[in-house]
Each structure stands twice: as structure tokens, then as C-alpha cells.
């Protein structure tokens, strides 16, 4: 296992604790780093015309860690100088609280922004994490499409979004 991969792995977390984007930034920043791009996904109070009360997140945690590891390896292939950290919260997350946080450190901003965008697209595509939305009058599991780590179309789509 390369040192780059080890570094990537220890940056991944699936946790019931509140996310701390500042700590995430510190975990990837270093002397060669001129930029840290971050993404913080937050639970909002409306979705599809419903007034959202909270979201319960559920994960298959060991597989989620491996999915984050794969995403970090994919990002390293494309942007070798980027260091990525991915934290995802599980359990009940209130309106305004962070459900996912990603930090991408790089020598220059362009590859940091791109890798950060790529990572969140891939997390949503293939991490085994589910949203159970509770809204006024009911609840619903948010189901998109099957997680497929071998889906090259999905990967290409994430890359396009990251680079345009």
C-alpha cells in the first residue's frame, strides 16, 4: 500500500458526531498546500415542496470507508497533488447541520476545487449511505439509483461536473 493511500484512508470518517470542517481542513493542509477547497452538505428545511423536519442518515460503515478510499484513489489518479478528506455524518441530523464535509488540499486552487466537486459527486453516486427524510406529515427514503462502483458512465459524469 502506498503512503498516499494510507494518508487518504485515515482521512475518512463515518460518524454520529457533529462534523467539524475546520478540523477537516487542518487534516489535509500542509506546507506544499496553497489552497484547501471544501464542500459542506447541509440539511435544508425544504425538499420537493415538503417542509423537512430532520434527516436520519444510515450507512454500511465499513463499505462506506472503502467507497471513500476508492474515491480518493480515483481523485489521486486525476489530480496527483491533491489530498482529500471525506467525513459523513450518520444518525439524526437537524436542519442547518452538516451531513457531509469534504476538504481537498492542493498546491493551487484549480485542482482543489475540481477534486472536491468530483468527490461529492462520487460520494452521492456510490457511497452506501441512505437518507431517511422526515417531513411534516410523513417520512420517505430518498432513493436515486443503485450504487455501482464499476459504472464508468457515472464516473465520467462526475469528472465532467468537476472540470466544467
Amino acid at each position: 500500500m502506498s503512503s498516499a493511500r494510507e494518508a487518504a484512508q485515515e482521512h475518512h470518517r463515518v460518524t454520529t458526531a457533529a462534523l467539524d470542517p475546520g478540523a477537516l481542513v487542518n487534516s489535509v493542509a500542509g506546507p506544499a498546500c496553497g489552497a484547501v477547497a471544501t464542500f459542506v452538505g447541509v440539511v435544508r428545511d425544504r425538499n420537493a415542496g415538503r417542509r423537512v423536519l430532520w434527516i436520519d442518515y444510515e450507512a454500511y460503515a465499513p463499505l462506506a470507508h472503502k467507497a471513500f478510499d476508492q474515491i480518493a484513489r480515483e481523485a489521486l489518479e486525476r489530480w496527483p497533488a491533491v489530498r482529500l478528506a471525506i467525513h459523513h455524518r450518520i444518525g439524526r441530523v437537524a436542519i442547518g447541520e452538516a451531513s457531509v464535509a469534504i476538504a481537498a488540499a492542493s498546491p493551487h486552487r484549480a485542482e482543489g476545487f475540481a477534486a472536491c466537486r468530483y468527490a461529492i459527486e462520487r460520494v452521492k453516486q456510490m457511497a452506501p449511505i441512505w437518507k431517511h427524510e422526515h417531513f411534516e406529515g410523513g417520512e420517505v427514503w430518498i432513493e436515486g439509483a443503485p450504487a455501482d462502483p464499476w459504472d464508468e458512465d457515472a464516473r465520467r459524469h462526475a469528472l465532467e461536473r468537476a472540470c466544467t
Binding site: L63, Q125, I129, W130, I142, E143, P146, D148, P149, A154
Partner: protein, 89 residues
Amino acid sequence: MHVRIRLFARLREIAGDAELHRELPDDATASTAWHALTAQFPGLAPYERLISCAVNEEYAKLSTPLQEGDEVAFLPPVSGGGGRRFTTD
């Protein structure tokens, strides 16, 4: 053979259990395990073409052969998903 089956999210709710144990034939695949479940819980059947699966905490195909003591997990669609159906938020 004996296998441990893990279910998540909506699949877990339909079956009423996050973890089940089944005895399967020696030539069983992940698909065999899935069909053992749908026979018992018909509400799972509509997910036939929508599930992902994992064997021993690695993504796997439904055709993956199982072995004694394996953990096989069935995963409903995730919020983003793959293929051509992508969410925008």
C-alpha cells in the same frame, strides 16, 4: 452453508430486521441469498433490479459465489445513484 445477511434502509424496514441468518445450498451465490429473502418477504421483490450487493464488506455482483460464514449485504438505491439518473442537489 450458513450466511449472514445484512439489510439497510428501506430493505431493512420491509424485512423488519437488519440482520438475518440463512442456510443456503453449497453452490449458492448472492442472488440465491436474495431470492431466499424475497420468498419470505414479497415486499422486497420490487427491488430486484435496483439493489446493489456486497460480500464481506466489498461491493460484489449478484453472481458472486458465497462461502460458509460469508456476510452478504443488500443495498437499496442511494440518494445520488449511478448510470444516467443523477440527482442535482
